[in-house]
């Protein structure tokens, strides 16, 4: 697991070839979508903030939304030699950091983000092999492009390698 570490900010995305790793910090209600093509060892990571660009008053940055970010990420990876048909997805985040009332019937923004990501990946035909969404805690995630392993770090909820 050597190679450089590429930071992906909030509402941003990037793709890289082995041995680089992609990291994004502090996912709360945001969802981190990682895609990986094992054959060519190319990975991609998007830090998604909102479910649907069509519901926004102003789209602005397309990397913000699940429906617009995922196709851009796929395209970026294809430019590095990846093929959509071989990609698998691992997703994490979509937490509810603050809860005001236990019986709030409205879905949290985290839940809605995770659902939108699942739906878009299904539409693109990319299987989700790891789904670590929900809870009430933040996550920092690292995709290692040499192995395809997703490392998930939390405060007080352990570290996972999946």
């Amino acid at each position: 697991m050597s190679g450089n570490l590429i930071k992906v900010g909030m509402a941003d995305l990037n793709a890289a070839k082995s041995p680089a790793s992609l990291i994004t910090y502090g996912l709360g209600s945001c969802v981190g979508v990682t895609l990986y093509d094992e054959r060519v060892k190319v990975g991609g990571l998007a830090h998604i903030m909102l479910p649907d660009s069509k519901a926004a008053k102003e789209v602005g940055n397309p990397a913000k939304f699940a429906d617009t970010a995922i196709p851009i990420l796929i395209e970026k990876m294809e430019k590095l030699g990846a093929s959509k048909g071989r990609m698998v997805a691992k997703i994490a985040g979509g937490a509810q950091m603050f809860s005001f009332s236990k019986q709030d019937p409205k879905k949290s923004i985290g839940q809605r983000n995770a659902e939108a990501v699942r739906e878009k990946l299904k539409e693109e035909g990319i299987p989700i092999v790891v789904d670590e969404t929900g809870g009430n805690f933040g996550r920092t995630i690292i995709l290692h492009t040499d192995t395809g392993i997703l490392e998930i770090k939390t405060i007080g909820h352990g570290v996972k390698e999946l």
Binding site: M10, G26, M49, L50, E58, T140
Partner: protein, 206 residues
Amino acid sequence: MLDNLSEKELDALKEIGNIGAGNAATALYQILGMKIDMTVPRASIIPLQEVPEVLGGPDVLVIGVYLRVLGDASGSILFVMPKDSAFYLVDLLMGKPAGDTQVLGEIEESALKEIGNIISGAYLNALSQFTNISFIPSVPALAFDMAGAILDVILAELGQLGDYALLVETQFLGGGDGGSITGQYFLIPDPDSLGTILEAIGVKSK
């Protein structure tokens, strides 16, 4: 919408923050018996992605007390502190010796939420009197986690309307026997309530 606010409009928002912060500092002094200095606020417009940097970076561990502001002009309030400051605040509020609080349990959380409540009540009251707008704070919620994760909910709200955030930020500084308090207090108006606020204080032509 946010990226074309004038210098004069930003100054007016800073002044609003100043009035609120002054009142909040007085309220804090009354409950803690300790003078807490609050800096002259900054009003800044920054890209959403850069907001976590204002808290020291997205992976910095902080305690955040969050309130939604309802009423005529909606928005968010976020009160952020490092763990040590939060624990010292709990000691002060509960009359314990400095250094006594070591874990964030239910009682400590509710003490911190109560502080969030008191300062936000004072802050918003001053704003209401100055602007004649009614600002109603929600009950507070608390999280102890990475700064980036804590900010997500607020930024997602803003992200539906654009790529920028307007932050009216005040810093807290205080200390006494065996402890110190530093914290950041943010008023983050929803973009569509900005016009209401600016109009009320007469800096926006209708």
